[in-house]
């Protein structure tokens, strides 16, 4: 659990995000929504990488799969009702995570990385090469999901501000939920597994089952992020399941700081924010067209100078302030 100072800093960050729809146009709202949704995605990966010690390189499989399921269950001429569409998306993602996890968590280290990557690429090529959902061209979700009770529409994710606030509330609820999970005995066991799996086995824990449960929880939350992400542009493509997407999520986790939950969210915000900055021609001239070079330098600097990422930096600053008081 983060200290009071860190929580205060996070609250300020949330408030700063919350005013975006009030002061920014649609472009900025969309960018902020993407930051939050990718933050949820990265946070789910942190449960695996930072707490369970499982470095997955195929986490985007669940992110993209959920988006595709939303496309498949959405009627062409009407919005899908979240009351059933969301549980279907999460159910399919959880099932996929259970099947993939049941086989993957038997392996360790680099083999786990390769197996998760292989499964994600299998799903990537399934959607890429089949006509199920537009193949390599991707597919549109013409009407964004709504939450309706009878004929009364309670939430319409078609509105950019509505989607933004829905995502923000989701982030807060999921963060609080994961903190509770990590404080519960289950959370202590997976943290023990990360440090010394043999020891946990000798204490009588079936570590395979615990790792599998953690994998399914992380996959399902990634699926939730995928559902929201597909709702932003109303478009899904095989790239959502690709290894690049999994790699970006890992960069967000490392950039923000592993094993903090909030760090990867900061990592996602920083990565998208800095990308936006480096692409600005007014600021960076012709280099803006090659913003990836600048981004590479930025990531290297953070990793070299801030071992615990931006989240670690926040903890350090908050700690120093409390000492000064």
């Amino acid at each position: 659990m983060p200290s009071r100072n860190v929580l205060s800093a996070l609250a300020v960050l949330v408030l700063a995000l919350a005013v975006v729809p009030m002061i920014g146009d649609k472009y900025w709202i969309k960018l902020a929504t993407r930051m939050i949704v990718l933050g949820i995605f990265a946070m789910s990966l942190d449960l695996l990488v930072g707490y369970t010690g499982l470095v997955s390189f195929g986490h985007a499989a669940f992110f993209g799969l959920s988006g595709y399921v939303l496309h498949l269950v959405s009627p062409e001429d009407a919005a899908a009702n979240m009351a059933w569409a969301l549980p279907v998306c999460l159910g399919v993602t959880a099932l996929a995570a259970l099947v993939i996890g049941a086989l993957s968590v038997r392996t360790k280290g680099v083999y786990f990385i390769m197996v998760t990557l292989a499964f994600a690429q299998m799903l990537f090529y399934f959607f890429h090469d089949s006509d199920l959902a537009g193949g390599s061209d991707g597919a549109y979700i013409y009407f964004k999901p709504i939450l309706a009770l009878g004929s009364v529409v309670l939430v319409d994710l078609g509105g950019s501000a509505v989607l933004f606030y829905f995502s923000l509330v989701s982030l807060i609820v999921l963060y609080a939920g994961l903190v509770m999970v990590l404080r519960a005995p289950f959370g202590k066991v997976i943290q023990g597994i990360k440090v010394n799996e043999h020891r946990m086995q000798a204490l009588g824990f079936n570590t395979y089952l615990y790792k599998l449960v953690s994998f399914v929880i992380a996959g399902t939350i990634a699926g939730y992020a995928g559902f929201l992400f597909a709702s932003i542009d109303g478009f899904v493509s095989p790239e959502l399941l690709g290894w690049q997407e999994s790699g970006i999520a890992l960069v967000m986790v490392i950039l923000g700081g592993m094993g903090t939950l909030f760090g990867p969210v900061i990592g996602a915000i920083a990565l998208l924010g800095v990308e936006e900055l480096f692409r600005d021609r007014a600021l960076f001239g012709f280099i803006a067209a090659h913003w990836q070079i600048l981004m590479g330098g930025f990531v290297i600097c953070i990793v070299l100078f801030f071992a615990n990422g931006l989240g670690g930096l926040l903890v350090k600053i908050a700690g120093r302030q409390s000492e000064e008081r």
Binding site: P185, K188, Q191, G192, A202, L203, G204
Partner: protein, 237 residues
């Protein structure tokens, strides 16, 4: 349970191609305390690791509570009532003292929960003083206490202690020995590995001396006393 709690029969164990245990036989009866003695590299730790299932015998067989250990995963062996306190203590640095204990809490194989957090804290008052300290903020002695306490929280029938007092200050060593003797008085069975042969002779009723993975001596206290030069020959004391 009428038979031995732990039984190794003619066990050969390897690390890769290195042959460590050679036809080892070992029996631990209910309520008994067995000392494993020997110089470094003679196979004491490997014997304990074979019992908990970290190392699988290539030949021979192991029985835990009468069950064939080849069919049991390490967590099954632990759930059957075997608690292992490893040489490196393996405290979880990211958990507090209380969390290290509570996380391991479980009813024993017979369903009893006689060891609780409070009972462990009473046994080790130093741990009670450091309830909220992180695992990596403890001294070596405190870590050993926590490691023993954590093993007790699983309410085991057998305690396996590897190098119980190695590297600890004399006062802390005394404290640990006194606690081990208190635990033994509850009727718990134990296999203890340590360099302090004198203490082991006082505490344990069965003794085994390992030399190059073979049992150079195996017998009770009286048998050991009948061979006064055996400790000098194999342990250099």
């Amino acid at each position: 349970m009428t038979g031995p709690l732990i039984e190794l029969r003619d066990v050969d164990a390897y690390y890769g191609s290195s042959h460590i245990l050679h036809g080892l036989d070992l029996r631990l009866e209910c309520g008994s305390c067995l000392s494993l003695m020997g110089r470094n590299g003679m196979g004491k730790t490997t014997t304990l690791k074979t019992i908990v299932g970290y190392v699988r015998p290539k030949r021979g067989s192991a029985y835990i509570m009468g069950r064939d250990a080849s069919e049991l995963a390490t967590h099954d062996i632990a759930q059957a009532g075997i608690a292992y306190v490893p040489e490196d203590r393996a405290i979880f640095p990211n958990l507090t003292v209380t969390e290290n204990l509570v996380m391991a809490a479980r009813a024993g194989a017979n369903g009893t929960r006689s060891w609780t957090e409070e009972r462990v804290m009473t046994l080790f008052p130093r741990l009670a003083e450091r309830r909220d300290h992180w695992g990596n903020h403890l001294s070596g002695g405190e870590q050993q206490m926590l490691s023993i306490g954590r093993a007790l929280m699983t309410n085991p029938d057998v305690l396996l202690l590897d190098e119980a007092t190695e590297g600890l200050a004399p006062l802390i060593r005394e404290e640990i020995w006194s606690v081990i003797s208190e635990i033994k008085s509850t009727g718990m069975s134990a296999i203890i590995v340590d360099k302090d042969a004198a203490r082991l002779q006082d505490l344990c009723d069965q003794h085994m001396i390992l030399v190059k993975g073979r049992a150079a001596f195996s017998g009770d206290r009286a048998a050991l006393q009948n061979e006064p030069d055996i400790l000098h020959r194999h342990l250099g004391i």
